[in-house]
């Protein structure tokens, strides 16, 4: 149960944090269609996060932070809003700031591809709840990956400026990659973009960006630990 909870936390935190990053695009995107599309992906990931955090709490209630007696905060929110940065299990890749739309696209391509591969594997998991979450998530992540791939190619093949930005954005996120899926390699090939040469970056815990993200995300919830929302 502890292992299952940790797995759900890792998958849930990745979804929560990337959803938060994508939600930061809201009202800032290059056009209305992209604003809506990025919000859609953020909403899908937020949905995944809620299911996964709830599953983690059910599998091992000891992972849920203890709140003041009488607090009506549900487990998913206790996990999202009342853990310190050090207790989060997300990867550094999702924590990074958005950068421009090219960097956001490059990151989404890496994350969605790796997550899709992982969700495909999870359909064989022993936990039926996780299997159901994965089945739903596979459809969503396929769309996210395809969206990112399509824009990756568009930016690579669009203008000199968009190509320059795409390459810079990819280089910025590349050191934080985990596995590079064949789907990514294929998109790079179609886009005629070379894999960056940088090695994987040494990790000593999270990025500096995570604690700033959480300071903002958690501020209202923490000011009202007995609040109802």
């Amino acid at each position: 149960a502890g292992e299952l909870a940790q797995e759900c936390l890792r998958l849930g935190d990745d979804a929560l944090v990337l959803s938060h990053r994508l939600s930061q695009w809201c009202s800032h995107a290059p056009d209305l269609e992209l604003d809506i599309a990025l919000a859609n992906i953020a909403l899908d990931l937020l949905g995944q996060a809620r299911l996964l955090l709830a599953r983690a709490a059910a599998a091992d209630p000891s992972v849920v932070p203890v709140l003041p007696e009488g607090s009506p905060v549900p487990a998913e929110d206790a996990l999202a809003y009342f853990r310190e940065a050090a207790a989060f299990r997300c990867s550094r890749l999702v924590e990074l700031e958005n950068g421009d739309f090219a960097q956001t696209t490059a990151r989404l391509l890496l994350v969605a591809s790796a997550r899709l591969a992982e969700f495909e594997r999870l359909r064989e998991h022993a936990d039926p709840v996780l299997v159901a979450i994965a089945a739903k998530g596979v459809k969503e992540l396929t769309y996210h990956r395809d969206f990112a791939a399509q824009w990756f190619v568009t930016l690579a093949q669009g203008t000199a400026e968009s190509r320059r930005r795409l390459e810079a954005g990819l280089a910025a996120v590349w050191p934080y990659r985990e596995a590079v899926e064949p789907a990514v390699t294929q998109v790079l090939t179609v886009a005629e973009v070379d894999e960056p040469t940088a090695g994987r970056s040494v990790s000593r815990g999270h990025t500096e960006a995570l604690s700033r993200l959480l300071a903002e995300m958690q501020v209202v919830a923490r000011a009202h630990p007995r609040g109802q929302w």
């Binding site: 929560l16 938060h20 939600s23 930061q24 809201c26 009202s27 800032h28 995107a29 290059p30 056009d31 209305l32 269609e33 992209l34 604003d35 809506i36 919000a39 859609n40 953020a42 909403l43 937020l46 949905g47 996060a49 809620r50 955090l53 905060v73 549900p74 998913e76 929110d77 999202a80 809003y81 421009d100 739309f101 190619v153 568009t154 930016l155 093949q157 669009g158 203008t159 400026e161 968009s162 930005r165 903002e216 995300m217 501020v219 209202v220 919830a221 009202h224 007995r226 609040g227 109802q228 929302w229």
Partner: protein
């Protein structure tokens, strides 16, 4: 002329004018201005609520808020499309907006200062918008009327969500109740100003009503809003910041005080608390996104050339 007579007949019968139909130039221009202003309001209106997406205090509320702001982008899209049937492009209208040549609803020049404002905007601002917009579902211009039907449905969903947030907060802690009251105190008067100046200072109303692109006067709609809202405020347990507010048996309406029309004029003139901030935000998003839009155009052209 024959064309004019046909137009007048359609208006008289409360039928729809469609984009391919003949229409007077003044009608077209007024409609473009009105639809554009409405579209701009949806887009600028994303900002005050969007300000709290990253700080939403529960995951459920975050999903609701993000979806709501996304809906506003969608409303902007429909409305720009309706305007485009009149022969202007979205890009032209966007440029008019960021150059300050077209307006948007003055309410969005007020800041959002607490999470309660998300609820208050849903309740009062969307509430006022619905009062304004429901009659527009019967507006004489087809594409606009059809867009309004779809938008009004979503707006009333948003309004219920906003009211439900406030209701939940009122059941919470003392601090939360105080937060709701403080928010309502700030938004009440600006919400009443959303219907525009008093009828005797609203020179365009008569022509717009004759053309069937406005169905009620500003003061009528404002009264409707007050009558609708007072019982909701009582149910919520908040005090509306107007000591003169009282039921008038004779009129069959609530009496209420005049909003501060000097403040309204200042905000319209550009001196609202957030006018510059809202336009700067929109301008920056538009300019920062230019290279993406150019890349998409260039890529589409390349694909076309090779296919």
């Amino acid at each position: 002329t024959e064309l004019e007579a046909g137009f007048e007949r359609t208006i008289e019968h409360h039928d729809r004018i469609e984009p391919r139909d003949w229409m007077p130039e003044g009608y077209r221009k007024t409609l473009i201005r009105q639809i554009a202003q409405h579209a701009h309001s949806e887009i600028i209106g994303m900002q005050p609520e969007g300000n709290w997406i990253t700080r939403a205090p529960s995951l459920r509320r975050k999903a609701i808020l993000l979806a709501k702001v996304q809906d506003e982008a969608g409303h902007g899209l429909y409305l720009y499309s309706a305007a485009e049937t009149l022969g202007v492009s979205r890009l032209q209208l966007t440029e008019m907006l960021i150059e300050g040549k077209q307006k948007y609803s003055s309410i969005f020049n007020y800041p959002t200062l607490s999470y309660a404002d998300v609820g208050t905007i849903g309740w009062l601002v969307d509430g006022a918008a619905i009062c304004n917009q429901v009659p527009l579902c019967r507006t004489s211009f087809g594409p606009y009327g059809r867009a309004m039907i779809r938008i009004c449905k979503e707006e009333s969903f948003h309004q219920r969500q906003g009211y439900e947030l406030l209701m939940t907060m009122m059941r919470g802690t003392d601090e939360q109740r105080a937060m709701v009251q403080e928010s309502v105190d700030r938004f009440w008067w600006p919400a009443l100003m959303m219907f525009g100046p008093p009828d005797d200072e609203s020179p365009n109303t008569a022509q717009s009503m004759a053309w069937g692109i406005k169905r009620n006067t500003n003061d009528d709609l404002r009264q409707r809003m007050v009558d609708m809202t007072v019982p909701q405020a009582e149910a919520l347990g908040v005090t509306l910041p107007d000591p003169t507010l009282a039921w008038n048996e004779e009129r069959g309406h609530y009496d209420f005080a005049e909003p501060d029309w000097d403040e309204f004029l200042q905000v319209i003139k550009g001196n609202g608390p957030c006018n510059a901030q809202r336009l700067a935000h929109r301008r920056r998003a538009h300019e920062d996104g230019a290279w993406v839009r150019e890349a998409a155009t260039a890529y589409a052209a390349k694909r076309e050339a090779t296919s």
